[in-house]
């Protein structure tokens, strides 16, 4: 169990983590979701005592990390796969950690076999590929048979096979009753693995609830309407009390209405319809709406719905493709990206979840 109480970290005048309160419970995968620069890594570093909180506290089973008798026996963490001396072999790297916590030598062989690094265990870790480095980091995390495991962006840059392996590993660890805390900036990834969600934006905890609740609360649907007579149709729809968002390409998003109702209106008014589609907005969009508002609140910027900003970017670039880095790094399932042209994002398939 990880418990944060009014956890705050300030760098000069910049607040990286702002009075964060959350609990990570055993037996499930808890996703820690937030855009880049939201404070995920800083929070994780504070949990491990690497960074000192400016105020507030965070404990492991009620004890601060640096007071744990044998830290690796209680918490296994993979924050950065590159936090390894490249000149040391994988085997020796794990020996260094095992000795610090008085773990038996045989345990090193056990975890090396578990992550499938047996054939390269005596090779320099500096020559490892990203995927191998990630596996070494996971071996280190599991070295002490810990009740709590923490992974910071574990699937970043992995190939589909590696991603699947990590997903299954996290679920298996949680099924064994361990506490699994995993950060990501991808809602789509969280939707596949997490049972519980802690959302952070600009250092603030924006949501801390079961995944199912988050989905129910945040998945919004609308009707995509396309008509050559949109200028005439839109006012009629608005008259019914429905919210109409013009998309500028002859289409509009109509909220709170069913396709049949819109069709009836068009029929009554004798207006042409070219398209009438019910669209479920993706969780990715819901997440971005959530974090975008936190950006607005803090920076007073002009971030619109469906577009969020990296905390580090000035508010003058609201169209910056924050999720752009998701493309082209070999993920099995690229997240739905907000399309600058205003096209609706890929509908979120509810059936994808829960595998």
């Amino acid at each position: 169990m990880i418990q944060a109480t009014a956890l705050t970290k300030r760098y000069g005048t910049k607040v990286a983590v702002d009075h964060a309160e959350f609990t990570v419970a055993p037996g499930k995968v808890t996703g820690f979701l937030g855009p880049n620069g939201a404070g995920k890594s800083t929070t994780m570093r504070m949990i491990l005592g690497l960074d000192r909180p400016t105020s507030g506290s965070v404990t492991i089973n009620g004890i601060p990390y640096d007071k744990l008798a044998a830290p690796l026996r209680e918490v296994g963490a993979l924050l950065d796969a590159k936090a390894v001396h490249g000149g040391r072999s994988a085997y020796n790297h794990l020996q260094v950690l095992a000795k610090a916590n008085g773990l038996p030598r045989a345990r090193v062989d056990t975890v090396i076999d578990l992550v499938g690094l047996h054939s390269v265990a005596k090779k320099r870790a500096g020559g490892f590929s990203l995927g191998m480095g990630q596996r070494l980091g996971i071996a280190a995390a599991l070295l002490g048979d810990p009740g709590i495991v923490m992974f910071d962006e574990p699937v970043n840059g992995l190939d589909p096979e590696g991603i699947l392996w990590i997903r299954n590993l996290m679920k298996a660890l949680a099924a064994e009753g361990r506490t699994v805390f995993v950060s990501s900036h991808l809602m789509s990834e969280m939707a596949l693995t997490a049972d519980h969600l802690v959302v952070i934006g600009l250092g603030r905890i924006l949501a801390d609830e079961p995944m199912a609740e988050f989905i129910a609360k945040n998945s919004v649907s609308y009707v995509l309407v396309r008509s050559p007579q949109m200028a005439d149709l839109a006012p009629k729809l608005a008259l019914r009390g429905w919210r109409v968002e013009m998309q500028g390409d002859g289409s509009a998003h109509v909220y709170d209405a069913k396709p049949s109702q819109i069709g009836d209106v068009a029929g009554t008014e004798q207006l042409w319809l070219h398209e009438l589609t019910l669209v479920h907005s993706s969780l990715e969009e819901a997440f971005m709406r959530l974090t975008a508002s936190s950006v607005e609140y803090h920076a007073g910027g002009t971030a619109g719905t469906g577009t969020t900003q990296d905390a580090a970017k000035p508010p003058s670039s609201p169209d910056a493709p924050v999720w752009g880095e998701a493309a082209g790094d070999g993920r099995a399932q690229p997240p739905a990206e907000p399309d600058p042209s205003g096209q609706p994002p890929t509908p979120y398939q509810n059936s994808e979840r829960g595998q």
Partner: protein
């Protein structure tokens, strides 16, 4: 917590470990740091280089001086042949600076420090474990250098009829002192390294303190030099591997007083490093 441990199945293929046998303490930190330092080739090579360079330069110097001197045996006896026989230490100290610096800065350069402090979050344990390992290794290597340099030197001087041995006046203390001086250079660099967390910066500061400061002071008026000279790290520390305590300008410290001043530099650096290591985010 223990109830969860007990009911855990082995879905991930992990056999559960028996309950923790104790606390991750200083002994574990020492074993961990020892494993670190011997499992990286750069340490081994740095130390090998220190021995080869120092003993090699000493041997060259001894050979050159012993075979080409025009001085009589009586005149030679008035010179500090013991210190001269270990001339290679002047270069060896630079390699020891690199060793002391890398022992800590490589953790920051590679990011390993975050892993290290996750395994042992009690930072003083990590700092002092490192310090003990660096001190012991630098001491052993330093003594190898000073004894090898001196003993090789005695053979060259013997051909000149100069009787030089460890039982010569002050020789044993100076030869042991040669190793201690090298140890001090490594510790100074270790402290600076912990404070700066940067390899190149640390080596620059080490070279500055041990070499460049002396050169700068040489350009000062003699009256200033007389006051400053003996406090400079190299001059103060140099007394512990000398048998004659003279200075070009002003006076010199005795062997152990000089060494105490020299070690003060290292202690100040180590304290600064300790503060940064303990307090600053990793």
């Amino acid at each position: 917590m223990s109830t969860i441990t007990d009911t855990r199945s082995t879905l991930t293929g992990l056999t559960p470990l028996p309950p923790a046998s104790g606390r991750a303490g200083f002994g574990g930190a020492l074993r961990s740091e020892w494993t670190k330092i011997r499992s990286v080739k750069s340490t081994v090579w740095t130390l090998a280089a220190a021995i080869i360079i120092s003993v090699g330069i000493s041997t060259l110097g001894n050979w050159g001086q012993a075979s080409h001197t025009s001085l009589s045996a009586a005149d030679l006896a008035r010179r500090d042949l013991v210190q001269r026989s270990m001339f290679g230490i002047m270069l060896g100290q630079l390699v020891m600076v690199v060793f002391g610096a890398l022992a800590i800065t490589s953790e920051y350069a590679t990011g390993m420090v975050r892993t290290s402090l996750t395994a042992q979050p009690r930072r003083l344990h990590v700092y002092f474990a490192k310090l003990v390992i660096v001190t012991v290794i630098a001491f052993v290597v330093g003594e190898i250098i000073s004894f090898a340099s001196f003993l090789i030197g005695t053979h060259f001087w013997a051909t000149k009829g100069v009787d030089l041995s460890l039982s010569s006046h002050g020789a044993l203390q100076a030869v042991i002192g040669g190793g201690l001086y090298l140890d001090g250079a490594a510790l100074l660099a270790f402290g600076v390294g912990a404070a700066l967390r940067h390899t190149a910066g640390t080596i620059t500061v080490g070279v500055f303190l041990l070499f460049v400061v002396s050169i700068i002071v040489n350009f000062m008026p003699d009256s200033w030099q007389a006051d400053i000279d003996k406090y400079l790290p190299a001059n103060a520390g140099g007394q512990v591997w000398a048998t004659q305590h003279t200075a070009d300008v002003g006076t010199a410290f005795g062997a152990w007083a000089g060494f105490a001043v020299y070690i003060c530099y290292a202690v100040i650096a180590l304290l600064a490093g300790l503060l940064v290591f303990k307090r600053k985010d990793a």
